[in-house]
């Protein structure tokens, strides 16, 4: 596959749909979470309001070049990840820019935004930012592991690293989904998924309910807006990868919306039930519970 200019508007369309869906979806998830806690929760359009407000704020400060670029890295990471993976199976329109690389590209590009963001947060000089990064990196070392093993397992299973071909192999029947052909890999990956969604029990990195802590501590106004934009794109981009690898992909937008919702909901579901882990606890938890699943997955393939 080669680059064609038509891909640009197509990709932008994907982006537009995903951003809007993401804004609504994250608000909905917030709301569900609030209702579980017997609270009323935010209005469904709250994210739009926040975004417009933050982009609109004109007074802002900077701590330096990396600080300024941090959110840019972050959002580039989210958008890039989304566009490097085909969103809808079988649709040329929504295959985005997946010609540039295969699954491995997606797997490693996940880190692009986090790394840039961490650098920006570091330049702010705020110790809480650095602590957040330290926690986040520590957690990610083991949280991503079962996912990587699961990816390896299904790459072995389907003998390809191309996302499109992996989705193609799952077509025909629900029973062809990786979920059923390789449940171990899916189980490992889904545990890993919990670790990357910044929800309990693995949300000590951002600690969203507490006093300012975590990488975004010093970010405000349009920086924060960029990060909020990413916060609606990135989880969906990531879920698209999961959906394609494990749940048969999606050939139409409604299926896409449904599957993304359900996968997202899984992390919310776990999150409202379990309390938060400390970093060393989550590191151990992934090693003890999730890693063996991943190992089993690659051994039985």
């Amino acid at each position: 596959m080669q680059f064609e200019w038509i891909m640009v508007p197509y990709s932008l369309l994907t982006l537009f749909i995903v951003v809007n869906y993401g804004l609504l979806l994250t608000a909905l998830m917030q709301k569900i979470g609030a209702r579980v806690g017997r609270r009323h929760g935010i209005p469904i359009w709250q994210n739009y309001v926040d975004l417009i407000k933050n982009y609109g704020i004109r007074s802002s400060i900077t701590h330096g070049v990396m600080f300024y670029l941090g959110p840019v890295f972050r959002l580039t990471g989210g958008v890039g990840l989304l566009l490097f993976v085909p969103t809808l199976y079988g649709s040329e329109m929504f295959s985005n820019l997946s010609f540039a690389g295969d699954l491995i590209l997606a797997l490693y590009f996940i880190f692009f935004g986090s790394l840039g963001m961490a650098l920006g947060a570091g330049e702010s000089g705020h110790p809480h930012s650095a602590i957040g990064v330290s926690r986040g990196l520590s957690q990610v070392t083991t949280a991503e592991l079962p996912f990587a093993l699961a990816v390896f397992a299904i790459a072995l299973q389907y003998q390809t690293l191309s996302v499109t071909e992996i989705v193609a192999a799952q077509q025909g029947s629900v029973w062809n989904w990786t979920l059923f052909t390789n449940p171990l890999a899916v189980a490992a990956a889904m545990l890993s998924f919990l670790g990357s969604m910044m929800r309990p029990p693995f949300d000590v990195v951002l600690a969203p309910q507490e006093i300012p802590i975590g990488p975004p501590t010093e970010y405000h106004s349009s920086y924060l807006a960029l990060m909020q934009t990413n916060r609606v794109i990135f989880p969906i981009a990531k879920i698209v990868v999961y959906m394609n690898l494990f749940f048969g992909g999606a050939a139409t937008w409604p299926v896409f919306f449904l599957k993304v919702f359900l996968i997202y909901f899984f992390s919310l579901f776990v999150g409202v039930v379990f309390p938060r882990f400390r970093v060393e606890q989550s590191v151990r938890w992934f090693l003890v519970w999730a890693l063996p699943l991943g190992i089993a997955a690659i051994l039985v393939v």
């Binding site: 820019l97 540039a100 690389g101 295969d102 490693y108 650095a130 106004s221 060393e280 590191v283």
Partner: protein, 1041 residues
Amino acid sequence: MVSPIFIIAGSLGGAFLLGLLRDPWRGASYVISLLVLTFTTWLAGSWLWALSSGAVTPVEILTAGTQPPFAVNLRLGIAEAAMVLLINLTGLLSALYLKDTLFKQGRRAMAVLLIFSMALSGIVMTRDLFNLFVFFELTVISTGGLILLSRDPRALAAGFKYLVASQVVSILMLVGIIFAYHATGSLNLDDMAAASAALLRGGALAFFLVFIAVVAELKVFPANGWALDIYESAHPAFSALVSAAAGSASLVAIDKLLQIGGPAWMDVASIIGIVSFVGANLFALAQRVDRRLLGYSSVAQIGLILFVVGQQDILGERYLFVAGGVLLAHAVGKAGLFWLSGLVAGRDLTAWSALRGNPLLLFAFASFLALLIGLPPFPGFYAKWELVHAIAAHDHLLELALLLFGALVEAGYLYRWFGYAIKREIDHEPIAPSLYKRAVVCVAVLAGWLLAYVWGELSPHDNLLHAVPVLFALAFLALEWLPARVKNALAIAGLLGWFAFSYPAYDPLQLIFALIVLAGGALILLASFHSDGRRLGFYPSAMLMYAGLAMLIVAEDSFNFFAAWESLTIGSYFLILRGRQSEPHALSYLVFSLGGAFLILAGFALAAQGNVQFLLVSLAEVAEPLAPWVFALLAVGFMTKTAAIGLHIWLPGAHAEAETDVSPMVSGILLKAGLFGLFMLLMTMGRQELYGVDLAHVMMWIGALSALLGNLMAAFQEDAKRLLAYSSIGQMGYALFGLAMMNHLGWLMALMFVINHYIYKSMLFLSVGGVAKRTGTRAMYQMGGLITLMPLSFIAVLIGIIAMSGVPPLSGFGGRWIFYNAIMTSEYRLPMILIFVSGPIAFLYLFRLIHSIFLGQLKDEHRRVKEAPFWLVLPQMIYVVCLLVFALAPGLALRRVDAYISNFLPQGALSWEGLTITSEFGYWSPVSIMLIVGVIFVVIFAWLLFVNRRAQKVKQFNIVFAAERPYRPETTHYAWNFYAPYKKALGFLAWPVFERFWAAVTDLLHTLAELLRRIYTGNGQVYAIHLLAFVVVVYLLKEGL
């Protein structure tokens, strides 16, 4: 030609003449002594020249006008001539050296010296057993006299102990001779050899007594307490004589006796020799006094030669070459060191730091040590090569192991000593100013290098002193007076010139390594322009390392490969030793490297089965059951260099403590030597199985463990350079893992790591080195916020860590992509898990590196810090460009190699159509990725600029601080123990298990040496009992065998 009898007659006549002179005529006496020694030296030299050029044949000298056995006869062949020359030359030089002492002691002392060298010459030349005894007695008497030349009060006691021991020896010998004469009816050695069957059957005890007496004269371990006392307390010039001349003469005597004893007694000599070699070297570990250490080392070396003498049946016609090489190297090296010790005032090993003020003497010291250890290009190197090949070919594996172990221990304590001289505080007492003493030392150095040349010529291999890279490196010794910048320009020109010259001959794999070593080496040397002054010692060492590397790449046979390997090891050792705190680390580097090198030597020797000119490609033809062992030995040897886990403990210190421009050399370039060796090994030998275990599989595990633990330990470091050093262990683990996968893409990945690791590790070491230079610390938590002050260094580190972490769009991603494709076809899946675990850990240390140094809070004391020096920044910027180019077009370097690897592993080659790289499983388009990421980034950046164009830059402490206020940068900069929770969870994996293991091993050796050396009580009677016990034990063992 003048008859060789005048060697004896001249000395004897000279000694008598001295007796006729009046005592106050010291000058005349001294001149006569010198003239006599010059004459005998000249005579021996002229005979050696004539014999070796073939102008004359070996001569037989009859005395008393009668044929033997009725009169004594002497023989002078080429070996005897060489020995006599050695003895008389050492005598002459020692006489020069002893000038003051001899003037003080007068003509009697001079006469004794003449008798001493005459007696030793006699031992070498005589063919009569009783005459041999007479000469031994003369040696004993003159030794007794010469010991007293020393000013050391202990010398008298030492001399007395010596006489006690000698009397025991003499009695044994005399009794033996009497019975031997009885058994054979002749005292002539040739007659006895002819009648050896009868002698050995009936008069075995007689032969034994003579044999053991001469062995005891060699001062073999452990019956040698008296000898050690002599070495310690006698005048160093006399110790030189004892070690070099008397030792050599006794060895010739043993050789003569073994003509009678035959193979059965050769085995006894071998065993005594090897025990002596290992035991004395081990005991030497515990020594703190230079001359006593040299004494132990002499005992060990003579043991080694005794071992060689005992192996003459398997060495065949190469016997003289091997024995001569080891013996002459020992003689010159040991005599040189004893003479040198006379110039140093203090007796503790650390007192040799006084040599530091004198580069010439330091060079002499280094040369003597290299002579003793048998490093290239010295004779011991060629000799050990053949010796090891011969004993390996005859399956004497225990001897081989002991020999290499002893040599390693020896190298350990000798280079520890060298480290003291280079690194310890300079001794307040200066070295003796005596010019002629220094001249004597210089003559020894010259002799050493001359022998190196001669042995190179005599060997069947290429003379190492003809190799252009080595000569280029040695030429820097002569250029040391030039300013460092001029030498640096020369060095760069040399590296690039050699690359251009050799370019057409390289195959693609060699080309990649040559690019890194030569072009890459030149690039790193740009950073060396920063140093001014003369930088003594830097360029010869660095160029020796580069010479070794350059020769390694093109080596076709095992000898050249190994010689190159040793050269680069030694060069890099000197280079690492230059760091301020690097003394223990350089030593541990050297010991591990030489240990690895000896394994490689053993591997080659086993593979070659006696063929000393063994082509590397012939490794493919080594058959079972030898092949897996050869593979294992070579692989472990190479993995020592790549610092695979378990053998890695030398690396962090060595790389971290090295100088700023040395760290990138030893990390970016030198580590690749091990990978090159592994490439060579796997390309020739392929897969091997040992007891049903696939060795490649084992290597995969080792690689994976190295990757995991290297990365993990890097994450817990506070010292920036140590962090980078540990990260190298991890990176080399990846490369090893890729190689061990034994598939096409695995190898390609390893090569990708070779290139990438060179670029980003060199760059990072330079940036971190530059920062450390400016801030005066390497502890990261003491830095912080340097981004605005050192922006270029920051950019280099930023690009470096993105590349190393494997995040697209930089070149590290290519390595990861190839890795994933490679593991798809790998047979083993479990080791992958470790690699998967170790991958994200890299983020930990990389982020820590950039954050703790450049981000966070700037410290008050660093507010005026400037950007790193220009010459350090320049190569970094070039590396940045290289990384970007390599990220966009990895095909530039990899395409040809990909095709080349297909010759060995045809399955799984990549397709390089257009911009996309395609494998069997996936695809990847570096340019597209770069463009897409770039466009998205720029668009978002532009958007941010649009909505946030008036952002106001605020001061350092202007941060949200939850009702508190930041106190000071030190307490606000979150950097120390950055991953505390992680350490809590997984820190146990970074416990220094291996460090403790190796520390325990070295402690054990030292404790053993310290404990056992107490058998030397200093009591003469005890020593006599040792001697008798030794005789009895050898007899019982021999008869029991």
